[in-house]
Amino acid sequence: MESLSDTTLAALHLLFSGNRELWEIIAISFRVSGVAILVATPPALMVAFILTYKRFPGRRLLISINSTFLSVPAVVVGLTFFILLSRQGPLGEWKLLFTQTAMVLGQITLAFPILVAMGHSALQASDIRAWETSRTLGANPLRALFTVMREARFGLMAALLAAFGRIIAEVGASMMLGGNILHYTRNIPTAIALESSKGEFAQGIALGLVLLTLAFSLNALLQHIQGKGQPAT
């Protein structure tokens, strides 16, 4: 077995030599998770808004159910969709199993409760007068909604980054729904799992470095955004 330093050097070489296979895996990861976030964000923020601003029977139950989904393991989400999308499953006719679309579906399911929970917190922390002032100044409900979102944008951006960070690093759902097919559904986490099982640590570490850099960048961005959102003293 190679030493850790040798493996890390090999990993850096792979990254900076522009290894096509490696960068393709990275691109697939970003594409799938990017699409999942883009699709999940609008309805999730709408749900967060309704939970914050509307009072209706069952509201608290919905909040509890959403919080429960926060702790569902990715592999359980993967298994559920696997059963639904497999040939004998109720959605088998769609022939989506082992496609990027199936991976997107799994990641949307994982991102949605995070976006709802953090979006709900961000909107709860914002001032109700933003909505009321907007409405009394003649804004229709849609414009008032966008105004409230704009006022709470730092908290909502944090929700988006947290959800993206969660789904781009998950392995369970991507492995079960994508099948880890090279050039098609192999993303960073599934590639790391595969290379590690083969004893090929260089590519795994290179991809791990990408995830680590991404995590650092997202956190730095989050800190920056939250800092901007703090009131001046």
């Binding site: 001032d127 007068r129 933003a130 009321e132 002032t133 907007s134 409405r135 009394t136 100044l137 003649g138 804004a139 414009r143 105004t147 704009r150 006022e151 009131p231 001046a232």
Partner: protein
């Protein structure tokens, strides 16, 4: 002041738990009229203003706008939003400059030069010239009040509801606010002011009503001047 009210609300009731905060309240407002609404803490002044502006749902009431057939609050809600503007006790400033906040009150379809002209006129009207690019959230209480009034001017409502518009303002800021309110009145806009202190508004008001145990009581001018406090129970009971 015209004879026909621009807003006529009858039998307005609002309950919290089992207590009737507003108990079959009747209230009307005429064009260019300034009405002072007083009442103790928790009497329901703010709730009444919020219901009239369409922000809070009453349990029941009939509303007639511009001498129209009385309708339920739910059916009138859109009209209430369009014709009535409610100003919070502490006006909310959107994240952005004073200019952005003023522009918010204008219809989004306006062309840019016209929008700029209208905002400039409102800035001049409220004497905010030195603040137009300042972040609105950093303004003092008095400046926020002037921005909110300038915003109201751009919105051009028929009725303006103000919740404690001079609370926590120093004398100069209070006088400026009163001057701006007077100019609304001169334009024919009806004002309903909720306040603890009737004496601040004596030069402005045409009528004084007091909210007491869920009901509105008309206060006569002489009693108003002789009353040391709007919470004077004896005076109120005799008025009722």
């Amino acid at each position: 002041m015209s004879d026909r009210p621009i807003l006529d609300v009858s039998a307005l009731t609002k309950r919290f738990a089992k207590r009737a905060l507003l108990d079959s309240v009747d209230i009307s407002l005429h064009r260019g009229e300034c009405v002072l609404l007083t009442g103790g803490n928790g009497a329901g002044k703010t709730t009444l203003l919020r219901i009239l502006s369409g922000l809070e749902r009453p349990d029941s009431c009939g509303i007639s706008i511009a001498a129209d057939t009385p309708r339920s609050w739910r059916r009138c809600r859109h009209d209430l939003h369009n014709r009535i503007l409610y100003l919070h006790q502490h006006p909310y400033m959107f994240d952005g400059s004073v200019r952005y906040n003023l522009g918010y009150a204008l219809p989004s379809g306006l062309n840019k030069p016209l929008k700029r002209r209208l905002i400039d006129a409102a800035i001049e009207w409220a004497e905010l010239g030195h603040l137009h690019d300042t972040p609105a959230k950093s303004l003092s209480g008095g400046e926020r009040q002037r921005v909110s009034l300038a915003r109201a001017r751009l919105r051009n409502p028929q009725i303006l509801l103000l919740d404690e518009p001079t609370a926590n303002l120093d004398q100069e800021a209070r006088q400026r606010t009163l001057d701006l309110l007077n100019s609304f009145k001169e334009q024919g806009i009806a004002l309903l002011l909720a306040s603890h202190d009737p004496l601040h508004f004596s030069s402005l008001i045409d009528r004084h009503i007091h909210l007491y145990e869920g009901r509105l009581i008309a206060i006569e001018e002489e009693k108003l001047m002789s009353m040391p406090s709007p919470n004077n129970e004896t005076a109120l009971r005799s008025t009722a």
